[in-house]
Symmetry: D2
Subunit: 509 residues, 4 copies
């Protein structure tokens, strides 16, 4: 047994089990043995976990980096890609692969799945994928993969390019929007995507909000001058999400194809997903820390401070929605926990301040506030500190939703768990007894953003080491990995249940 | 007590009570007394009910007459109105006010609410209403009122013309389509209509089917050459209806406005309505006899015979759906039973035969079959014979769904019941003991259509007399009323519960 | 048309319709005509309703009079009946037929159905029925009928005496208790009753609370000295009711027999009933004004004042339960509204004060507080004033649940509505414009009880006249009827849907 | 790394992950390393898995051995224990620890949890536990633990002996019956048990059937001479189970204590459990292979052959129930799969033949047929062959419900998984490519019973090796372990979520 690195004496957690006083033996970036007292030859690197929790590196499958922005900017287009330097334009997210993945590893995340986003005018997704490859290549601190956002599912794309996307590019998931004018698909188009996705074993991610309600409410609120940041939430009550969730579940049932509902925020949408799962439909759910740890009062701070917490779906008013999200984590409705890291600067004219550039109102217009929050660095520590250490979720459930299930759902076969054959992507926490709790400030974080929505939140632990394929990339507060170490990961098909071959009429695909 | 007509010795039924051995005293078209042994002066007309049931005249609130056709004919427009003479064009229904209301009274219906249908290019609904007035005036055997079908809810129409529609024209309901290309509204447009409808106390009727699914499935089935009439049903499985039903209930909850889901056909949509009613939303449901008495095998007869039963939503495959419709009648989910009389001839090039004009297939293409069935004459007798006389529904429930609730829902204040102050619209049935059951043939009916989907059904009773405002218009199988006797009825606001002033966010209308 | 009495110019309400400016012609105690301007010969009594509401006399089907008390008094037995003079013993309710029905008519109730209660040792129910006849005969101001409470369903009783009860005595309903030691039946015994009830068309009323939970919680609370009156509620959280409700619905489904769940108080039990009705089971629900107008804080007043509001099931803590009860009235889950008039004096050693006689605690022991509230006089005005006049329920719904449905459910064929052939049992309200709202004090009431739980509640109207079979028995605040005018009413079978002949296994009755 | 045994080249499955080409290193009965190519010194035992599945040894937590019989034998008592020799009496199950555990290991089960059963007259459970220890000690081929069946929860037992049971005896679960006259508890007694169980971290298992319905139906069926074996099912329709399931979930919610519903057989009971889990109640569900692989026609074979499949709850009539059980396995409603091995011989006067000893009927009386089936040997292979190999469940789900979750639920901390620190309890399957499917006959099995309900079922694989604490006990069809090798396992508290500290009223334990 020839190791490069041995992690000693961890309380190792998988989605199922806990192995106490356990070592992890790593060779060539892969875990090749687990067990107590593994024999280490001289010269082998040793890290002593001192009995602390050792968990799989976080897999964050909803991260926007170097991307043309998802929210409602109708009039701009994808610029030429220039090695990850994000143009200072309002339709780009404000973290590159550089800053975004640096932030990821500092928060215990070892793999991100980001988005390669088709623009409506793009007649092919192949150059889109290639462009994003250029943006990410040699720029990433952690491993990464792509989902492809489909905004214009032409026959050529779904029939001819989807197979290439899967086979040549190792991309096995696409994302759709039911809202946002530049991206949204009609139900008809969603069916086109699903039809092809089913054949190819693609998982379809869906941002489910009813775009017509949002547009209508926004227009109406503006007439009433109700345009404060928190009215963003007013324009999108939970029914906006639950209606669209029910609708797209209906489409998926008709097509018998697996989907993931992204960033679910409300009780009623959660119920729709749960009911579908009860009936064994291959419907998966995602939620995010902002829906577990924040409420809508975060959007009411100051005249415009609330803009920091403007995202879609909005953070909810009602504690009952927040409770339902926690319940959904515990009872298994939510397959994965992602950050939806969609970073915009606050104090920047192309960031949240854009909301102030319209209408001569002191509190701006929520319609023009770029949607999204940064969160890739805080996701894993928030659930560990606020979930595991408070007893709200078990260590195994923490591992399941932050690492194992994301990897399974998206076909990251060697990611998301600790065990023989898995990539040695590992987080070592601090021994609990010696850790001094602290309150988060944005300066502690490693993204390019000038705020965090979780400012002031107390953390009772934090990743001490983040290890990717056997290399320490973050240690005791310092990013020690190198930009460019992160590799692109080709993905296989989902390892979670797929189509059932149950049909609603005589029609068959 | 000065009567024009006394109906003697009836078993009089209201939606609540039964009055045995009861007379009805009528003066100037109005019921002015009920009770046993009413004193009748010499010369007063007397009809002896001989103890038989006497029920309120049927109120059928879903009848298409002299109308540009609702189904998917994209390329034709409303022609000039010429006194009720329906142009021999494929986009017109095949019954005029003349033939349609003649058929109505022969089946015990005394009031119909028909449709005045805006075409998408119509920039005003006022001439539409006027045109339909011309079509109906002096042409009708029974009383009538209009719903206005809105296919293009411009700001001018919903803001300025809806108030005129209500105030000047006495029209307090509109109908929307979520499917059919020439008529369908997007959710945004539905919200525009609902917003104004709420303010004005208008009831909004909705044909709820997901148009994108239908279009997608139709295209896919045609590729597979699955275009037989019964594949019309294949293209629209129950989820098409239940999705749209859930969606429009969501819109109505958001807007806090009453809606009626028309012609509900499936268990799952019925459940959505029931659940909404449990929560006290002002959601009303309508079903039709075809969903209670027929199953999808009716579309499988012969090569093309099945086209006779092609309507939307389709008649269902699964007996469980049919059972759910019956249950919905009994437990109150369905507020009203209507015919959805949407008549097309079978053996006519602009009728059902149009389905054969495409594709050189022996069984045609279901896409081109005009949707709809005749049924205004059979609606009341079917529920009486197949419901009351079989013990499946009580006489009071029969009255409630065929007359009282339709009148209440649509603000027909003097219609729909028997009692002091109500119009003397009455059906007298045959004494049960002496009635000889018969099997229906189309020749017995009075519409202009060459078939009935209920051919061969056994009837255990039938209206013996139909009386409208104190005049006998149908007697012992003969229409004895006069064309033009029927009057237009201005309507008031719904008498059933309306908005609750419950809101889903800070937004208020 | 020869009338004894004509009521002029009422706004007459049935469960379905409203007849404005309507007269009611009455002869020999029966309504023989309704209509405007009925001709009245000279000498006929005339009452001018002045346009006010005229509603059917209240039918209160849950009234305890002259009865051995239902609550947990284990050690006492039914005494010899002595013409309605209630023994001053702790196990007797404190209103006789005299005082109770006087109170009823003063509150607009014209028929009460009271209880003839078998004691466990009674081997026959025939003498029980006879005894209660003696208690009621010549003692009642209003009409009355009996339910028989079955506490020991021997084979002889269910097989041989139930048929006699129905045929000879005109009693078509029985009541069972799932709690209270002296009365409760095991599920096995309930099945025995249901089996016979089904054959005979008997409606079975059930007091559904889980007796074991109550006993266990009471014991446990007493150990902790949590014995304040409001801990009565603590001992019986809503799950006590919802569990038993689900259980007895299961038994009724198995036996395919109609039941009424009495005095439902909580959201969850309401949901069980609603779900059963959705599936068309013949399950009926009753609630009472105390669950609509009071909350559990009424049991927290003073040291012991709260004892006034101790009843079972308890008045609920959570406004959500109260809201659910209102919703159940509106959406039809509750078939009837009854008072559950179960009167005990407060300031009497055999009344509520019994709760202070144990344990040397300043706030007594809730276990020993006789359960029950007076309410027969307030039931009808509460729903009229707090429901109809606030717009929460329609006039028709008010009539339905206070009069029409109770009469239908229990086979009171000539009661509960206004129309030809019905008994002339009528309430005339004050013209709204001229009525001066007042706040209720117990002195205004006519029962024998020294308090009302509704003390201080504002009433916006009150019955101006109560008329029974054509005689005014209450007028402008004065009881003008005579004790003994009230008659025993033999009842027929329920007029609401009964068994469905649907079975859960090969077994058939 | 010093191993006693190395298993080479397995496809190792945990409840979460699959490790391909993986070795397992075992020392002193414990797994001390997993990983490819573990170094084995000379002399170490090697087993080559040849790439086949290697799964955790089965943990069967519902096994009746050497036990006074659970079913309805009212008149017999627990005999003196004589070293595991089961008296030939009708109230004893027909497998001892010897034959039962021999059968277990031959079917891949390495730990059984059996029952120590209090008789109603036993005033202490301590001697009961001691007696069963004598029955099991030195008699078992596999490891074992005890649940204690409580049939008379006296204050002394729940207050004083439960703590001893947990602390001294390492028994952390009890089982209750809601039916069977000699064992059933009233709800009150269940609350007594739950109250103490909550304090001590005991998991309460519940056999949930409504005993009164069963008794009543049995009596009624016997009157009708409907006593064939399959009428056992007639007497216990699914509502019997669903009612009791809902009831005991209510009790558990009130007491905030975890329970396991044993041997769930029907859709409706499954729904109750699922709904409780949705609300995060600590409600766990168990089902058994007989409800997944058999239907009620198995009870209709021959005149009396059906008696072989008489168990309670009965195997169901409706495929929809069977489907719901499968769905419950897949969606996580069922925490564990157990055998409910409750063995009776068929051709033995104290076995199933007892059903023929009454009533002179050719097909006997189902009431007298001992309830229960043998199944400890077939449980694991059935789910592997009929579930994993058919694609109906994943290998991880198979492991979860047959091993990992049973161990977690019952606090078997070192059982149920493969990983460092776990006992080396392992099943090695045959390489699929080379395995020849066979049809099961009872002769192949190792129990003491003369039939199997799964006679003729095809198996596509079977355990090739069963290993307990590093020793091979079953190999290539031969039991090679020794009687007495199995050890008693002291158990800790459940590792699955327990009480939530959510209360339904002011009451607190
Ligand atoms: Zn999104
Ligand atoms: Zn996003
Ligand atoms: Zn339509
Ligand atoms: Zn129509
Ligand atoms: Zn009661
Ligand atoms: Zn009562
Ligand atoms: Zn059992
Ligand atoms: Zn068992």
């Amino acid at each position: 047994m020839d190791f490069d690195l041995v992690i000693r004496n961890g309380t190792v957690v998988t989605a199922s089990d806990i192995w106490e006083s356990c070592d992890i033996g790593i060779k060539d970036g892969t875990i090749i043995a687990v067990g107590p007292n593994l024999p280490a030859k001289a010269g082998v690197d040793i890290i002593d976990a001192e009995g602390a929790y050792v968990t799989p590196g976080g897999v964050d499958c909803h991260v926007h980096l170097s991307q043309v922005y998802e929210a409602g900017v109708d009039d701009l287009e994808r610029s030429v890609v220039t090695d990850g330097a994000i143009p200072d334009l309002p339709n780009y997210v404000a973290d590159t692969y550089d800053t975004g993945t640096r932030s990821a590893v500092a928060g215990g995340t070892t793999t991100v799945v980001t988005f390669a986003s088709q623009m409506k005018k793009d007649e092919s997704i192949i150059p889109v994928i290639e462009d994003y490859h250029k943006l990410a290549k040699d720029q990433s601190y952690c491993d990464y993969a792509f989902h492809v956002i489909i905004t214009n599912p032409t026959e050529n794309i779904v029939e001819n390019e989807f197979p290439r996307m899967v086979e040549e590019y190792g991309i096995t998931s696409v994302k759709l929007y039911m809202t946002y004018k530049p991206m949204r698909l009609r139900d008809y188009q969603i069916l086109d995507v699903m039809y092809s996705a089913r054949k190819l074993g693609i998982t379809t991610m869906v941002h489910a909000e009813n775009t017509d309600i949002i547009d209508w409410m926004t227009k109406s609120l503006e007439k009433k001058l109700m345009t404060h940041p928190h009215h963003h939430g007013t324009s999108r009550p939970p029914i906006v999400e639950s209606e669209a969730t029910n609708r797209v579940i209906s489409l998926a049932e008709l097509m018998d194809t697996p989907i993931l509902l992204v960033h679910i925020s409300s009780a009623q949408a959660t119920k729709h997903i749960r009911d579908a799962q009860t009936r064994l439909l291959p419907i998966y759910g995602e939620t995010c820390p902002q829906y577990m740890f924040l409420l809508a009062d975060s959007m009411r701070k100051g005249d415009f401070e609330g803009a920091k917490c403007v995202c879609s779906p909005p953070i909810r008013e009602d504690k009952a929605d927040q409770d339902a999200i926690w319940a959904g984590i515990k009872n298994g409705t939510f397959t994965i926990l992602s950050s939806d890291h969609a970073p915009n600067k606050f104090d920047h004219p192309n960031g949240k301040q854009r909301g102030l550039q319209h209408g001569n109102l002191p509190y701006g217009k929520f319609r023009h506030i770029p949607n999204g929050l940064p969160g890739v660095e805080t996701r894993v520590p928030l659930l560990f500190s606020g979930g595991v250490l408070t007893g709200r979720v078990s260590p195994q459930k923490f591992v399941e939703v932050t690492a194992t299930n994301p990897a399974k759902l998206y076909g990251l076969k060697k990611k998301g768990s600790i065990g023989p054959g898995f990539d040695a992507d590992v987080v070592i926490w601090y021994p609990q007894a010696t850790f001094k709790p602290f309150n988060l400030t944005n300066e502690m974080l490693h993204h390019a953003i000038d705020y965090t929505p979780f400012e002031g939140v107390e953390f009772k632990n934090w990743p001490r080491y983040t290890i990717i394929r056997g290399k320490v990339v973050f240690s005791h507060g310092q990013v020690v990995g190198k930009m460019g170490y992160g590799q692109f990961i080709r993905r296989g098909k989902s390892l979670l249940p797929g189509p059932r071959d149950v049909w609603l009429s005589e029609w068959r695909p």
